[in-house]
Symmetry: C2
Subunit: 418 residues, 2 copies
């Protein structure tokens, strides 16, 4: 069995100065993974002619499928198209269907009047040695080239255009041209145990996993995700093997198991609430709506998520959540009393089964002698009781906000399953 590989090349100076985070290649990698195509490299290069050329040379040594994004726009820094034309020895020709599509978009979708700009007309020009892949959602089409058995597909870097072309062209083309195997995963999430102790706990089992199944430890925010990956042409056998190994693993980590699916913590908690037909509200000071936005980022949130009061200003804590001025001026907004009242009162205000309340100092400003940056009080509640706990995080603002949210959601999970 010859091993098939893909490489992903993302083009753009903005990637090399860190101005944007590359989410495109993560998406492409995910889609390839689903159809069993392993990725050899993800490579980001700048907008330079030579850099792109060399990347094509280099990656075609490693991969049978090379996917490129970026550099196909209408402006002077977009050099990928003429370069590909030269690389594959073609000449530029006008593609009539693309021109008609560009015209349609400008007239009907962008509501632009007047004739097409020359630079937009040029977006309909393609190398005569490529197969044009229609871009339904944008002006720059995808382009498929072949050379010595390797296929190259160039896509625009705009994420939703790249996604459309990947889904509608790239994946079907690969499935048609190559015999792809299957890559299957089993992932679970643990909490309350570090990576090292976890490795000790499952050591004997880990040593006996067959060699075509790999185990990865993915620690993040004080939780550790464990992922089993198997690769085979025989999907049924592979799935049986993975199921058997995964069952053993689950038994071993039982005590620390949060969820046995590759979903984020908030979705695991959402599942619990939906199963129980129960509801949730949040009262957020320092997280500023981040906890609410995590729950509502996933479809179906309306079946359990009622709402939130973001009480950034203390007057809102008093007015909507019953935290008295006396409490605020004596023990302060970052205190057990405050979050306990916030949790108990948001349950009443929104008539929910559960609540989360948080108040803390996320930094870099706002610290006092008694309350340093990272000090947070979290409360979770049901209709009978409130549980509050203090945390001290020591990260930057972004991470403090996120780790506060994760800990709050995990406290809620424990209360639900208690």
């Amino acid at each position: 069995m010859k091993k098939l590989f893909a490489s992903i090349i993302t083009i753009g100076d903005e990637l090399l100065i860190g101005q944007v985070i590359d989410t495109n290649s993560a998406f492409i990698a995910q889609e390839l993974n689903k159809i069993g195509v392993p990725v050899k490299h993800r490579l980001a290069v700048g907008d330079g002619y030579e850099d792109i050329w060399n990347a094509l040379d280099e990656e075609s040594k490693h991969a049978d499928i090379i996917l490129l994004t970026g550099g196909l726009g209408p402006t002077a820094d977009d050099i990928t198209k003429p370069l590909l034309c030269e690389y594959f020895g073609g000449k530029m020709v006008l593609d009539e269907p693309t021109l008609a599509h560009v015209q349609y978009l400008f007239e009907k979708v962008f509501n632009r009047t007047g004739p097409l700009l020359e630079r937009n007309r040029k977006q309909a020009e393609v190398p005569d040695v490529c197969t044009v892949l229609k871009n339904e959602v944008g002006t720059a089409p995808g382009m498929l080239f072949e050379k010595n058995g390797t296929i190259f597909i160039a896509m625009p870097g705009v994420p939703h255009e790249m996604k459309w072309i990947t889904t509608h062209h790239v994946i079907p083309i690969i499935q048609q041209k190559f015999e792809t195997g299957f890559i299957e995963h089993r992932t679970l999430l643990t909490q309350g145990i570090g990576e090292s102790m976890l490795a000790e706990l499952i050591k004997e089992w880990e040593e006996k996993i067959p060699s075509h199944i790999k185990l990865a430890y993915l620690p993040n925010y004080g939780m550790v995700r464990l992922r089993l990956t198997g690769n085979s042409f025989d999907k049924a056998t592979l799935n049986n093997e993975l199921d058997a190994q995964f069952a053993q693993l689950k038994t071993l980590v039982q005590e620390f198991l949060v969820v046995d699916e590759d979903i984020p913590l908030e979705q695991a908690v959402a599942k619990l609430l939906k199963e129980r037909k129960q509801t949730l509200a949040t009262a957020e000071s320092c997280t500023g709506g981040h906890i609410a936005s995590l729950f509502t980022a996933h479809s179906g949130a309306s079946s359990f998520f009622t709402g939130s009061v973001v009480c950034y200003d203390n007057k809102i804590k008093t007015q909507l959540l019953g935290v008295s001025n006396e409490i605020l001026t004596t023990v302060g907004a970052v205190s057990q009393q405050t979050v306990t009242l916030m949790a108990a009162n948001i349950i009443k205000l929104m008539d929910t089964d559960y609540a989360i309340a948080v108040s803390g100092i996320m930094g870099p400003g706002g610290a006092t002698d008694e309350k340093p940056v990272g000090q947070v009080w979290i409360a979770v509640a049901n209709r009978q009781q409130v549980v509050a706990q203090q945390f001290n995080f020591r990260f930057d603002r972004t991470r403090n906000i996120h780790i506060t949210a994760i800990n709050a959601i995990n406290m809620l999970r424990k209360l639900i399953v208690a």
Copy 2:
């Protein structure tokens, strides 16, 4: 002047299956950029021995500085350290200061009792051919190697540990070992004009920019960011040139200019509010707290951001924001009437100068015959008036939520500066 280059290699199978998004290399690229070190490649490779080895060989052809992250943890899938030991021809030795630090962390920070696990003790072992870079915030130290004038620095993949080592070791080491030039940027954000029209508008100016200054178009969410980049050893002259070019550019795009700094839209609006000493509240249905979390993600938000009511359930719209049952059952929650009331009433409820209110269908569920996925009503208000507008976005849930937030914040910006 010999051109200095860095390459960033990130190690981990999770990057190649798209399970995690690589934010590490964006951070490193930003830090290198600040000290004038251009990045040649960002390369992600899997946990395979041969893949990592080849990446080291390959990137040392292109770069003088090679930064690696990942694969330094205590578990069996972490193979980077023994590989580096072999690659640079060393042998593993115990580093006493690292062992003392690991012991300190386990006892004092993680509150672990009992003797160190063998695998944690191993974290204090390093190749005898490296310089150990202390990791104050974690157990795995950074390691510096040199070979044929190229330096290699390996760091753990845990983001805050990588950041700490980059800031405290990598940047100072590079500044000490190499004569770095300066890279300077000027960035502005435009709204209301597409990439092509913008290119036409500034065409004559763009053609005359000197060759050591580059212009990049960075379109996103219907806005286009323009970035000028210059590279030189003479910082003062470079800054004067960039200032002059940037002033011309600003004049040309005046009509569409949102902000002349490299800050996100919500920070531009935050600046306006802080300057005016005015306040803001949000009433969010479909964005579920995302708008509030964007504003509060930045330090200093408490000086203008009062709070939010996330009214995901319609009963909260009625109870806290005065949207009557009659309106909800006739024109519905996604309507001009609803968002107008939400905006007008959150201003009163939270006593602020401005408000944003949104209600829409983010998908994939929730659509009706009359109201398809992507239909959104946005209202912005001050104490005198409410402005409402309907939008129809056609993306996935995540993007619909974010583009709703961006458009709402931009509507607020227009109202503030009107």
